[in-house]
Amino acid sequence: MAEFKEISPNAPLGAKVGNWFNNRFPTAGAAYRDHLSEYYTPKNFNFWYFFGSLALLVLVIQIVTGIFLVMHYKPDAAKAFESVEYIMRDVPWGWLVRYMHSTGASAFFVVIYLHMYKSLIYGSYQKPRELVWVFGCSIFLVLMAEAFMGYLLPWGQMSYWGAQVIVNLFSAIPFIGPDLALLIRGDYVVSDATLNRFFSFHVIAVPLVLLGLVVAHILALHDVGSNNPDGVDIKGPNAPKDENGNPLDGVPFHPYFTVHDIFGVAVFLMVFSAVIFFAPEFGGYFLEYNNFIPADPLKTPAHIAPVWYFTPYYSMLRAITGEMMYVLVFCVAAAAAFIAVKSRLPGLFKGVIALVAAVAILVMLAIDAKFWGVVVMGGAVVILFFLPWLDYSPVRSIRYRPGWHKWMYGAFVVNFFVLGYLGVQPVSDLGGRVSQVGTLFYFGFFLLMPWWSRLGTFKPVPDRITFAAH
């Protein structure tokens, strides 16, 4: 137990109250100091550093609006669609709460994608921040599950058929797949049972996991300290410090970055409100038009596509056809041959790798392309987790990497957008070919990173951050 502090009876009332609490709950004061008033944050944060706090803001918006929606929503296949329309038409201000929640879902992914992109270009996942990154990727994965299950709840055509497609992804898994899909649906098709359990997951189970992961993400970040656009370590043993041992290149998070982030919040809320009030459907991207038709288990809409934030992955799923499997088999064979010829591993290892490759090729040919489409789609998210161990760049920030690395990252972003665009479009021959090339590039970018990320001439990293007082 901490020492009990007595305070002068003549002290002002505020100080007395503060002391009373501090003697009984010192944890609160310590947390305030550790995470706000004495958490030193690099001074050179730029635009990209708004998105972490904005993600937290959107999480709060989603929880608060969600609580109010649950007061009127009915998780029943016969009533769900109607109850959402009831919220939109009859509940006072219900339309606003619903649009805040539906726009919030898309805003969440906008903010998270930008937040992840910042880590990508500034190497924020590199040692010692691997766990911060892994927790972050887990948040992304859990958020996808949360968004997917939430999308079923309005029980429109897109809700229904989107869920049907995604749940059937699991049935592609050999042996256990069909039973697993049955276990998820709780019926032979997506039905009332599915709606009820998705409601339960969306409203309580997944948000609890999400909150736990967010806490872990922030605690881990504050243990190792924030990275910055220069990738310079401001708290390391050689970093310049003042007489109290605080980094000269950092300022306390509160009040400096709390005020800074309030500016970001204001700008974000302007854009967010503009969407809510003027374009809540966002041209069919945030709320798809087919979802204004009640779910009909007997009729699939002529064109179904997931909501925009899933479409890059959806494109990759569609890219894996029987023909594409031969390309992938060739890639595996080429990788094994390359290792056998070029690497300096002992012969035994090479033999093992060749054997593993041969087995992989056999399995790839034996199981349907449908299953591999699912593997590729899942792999596209899972591969992000391994980024800290794929990047061999000696510097963190893109600022000090060879110039052509910027082109690599640029191409990666363009590729991601192209895949996303194709995922919204109906299938076409050209689109299919482009998404196959895009899928290969996406995986090539990550899997070949141990090789390309150390090539080129790196610029010298300065000892101090680049910062001019303003």
């Binding site: 049907q164 592609a172 649906r185 002529a302 569609r318 056809t321 392309a369 449908k370």
Partner: protein
């Protein structure tokens, strides 16, 4: 850390109760996981459906619900039946030999049905469960090859099926459309969900 020596008897009991807990965990999990399975009511909803097909004109298709799934009943025209032999070379499994959705013996033929003209199938794509749409119009058209001779197109991922629900090669769907167990009560009444096995 304290310097008290380890009491081995306490440790044995701790390990034993820990093991007992590990054994108990799956037992505790069983009711929770089992509650995810289809309920008795959902299982009971799988009863057979009787359909009167006398009103279906050649070239027409009706959809009925069986176990929550769309079941198609279609009367095919002689031209449509003639197209079956023509497309055989482009199909993934022309003789319906794959076993993921086993085709009943009485439908393991070119037209995949008991009566050649009447086609009964579950209208759910074997890829990811969308319901394919009718594309009976022949000839070139969007999303279909130029030599299209009528069939079904899945709007989700572009799998194509011929007029007997047989999937074309190099498409995401691995299997032909499922033919549900069915039998004729009379010339015009068909039962979906039950059949006479020998």
């Amino acid at each position: 850390m304290s310097d008290t020596p380890v009491d081995p008897s306490k440790r044995t009991w701790l390990i034993a109760s820990g093991c007992a807990g590990v054994v108990a965990a799956p037992f505790v999990a069983t009711p929770f996981v089992s509650s995810f399975l289809p309920s008795e009511r959902a299982k009971a909803a799988g009863a057979a459906v009787v359909v009167d097909i006398s009103g279906i004109a050649p070239g027409e298709k009706v959809t009925v619900e069986w176990r929550g799934k769309p079941v198609w009943i279609m009367k095919r025209t002689p031209e449509q039946l003639a197209s079956l032999a023509k497309v055989e070379g482009e199909l993934a499994d022309p003789n319906s030999q794959r076993t993921a959705y086993p085709t009943p013996e009485y439908a393991q033929n070119q037209h995949r049905s008991i009566k050649p003209e009447v086609f009964v199938a579950v209208g759910i794509c074997s890829h990811l469960g969308c319901s394919p749409s009718d594309r009976f119009q022949t000839g070139p058209q969007p999303s279909l090859p130029d030599n299209w001779s009528g069939g079904f197109l899945c709007p989700c991922h572009g799998s194509t099926f011929d007029i007997a629900g047989r999937v074309f090669r190099n498409k995401p769907a691995p299997d032909n459309l499922e033919v549900p167990p069915h039998m004729y009560l009379s010339d015009t009444r068909v039962v979906i969900g039950e059949d006479k096995k020998a």
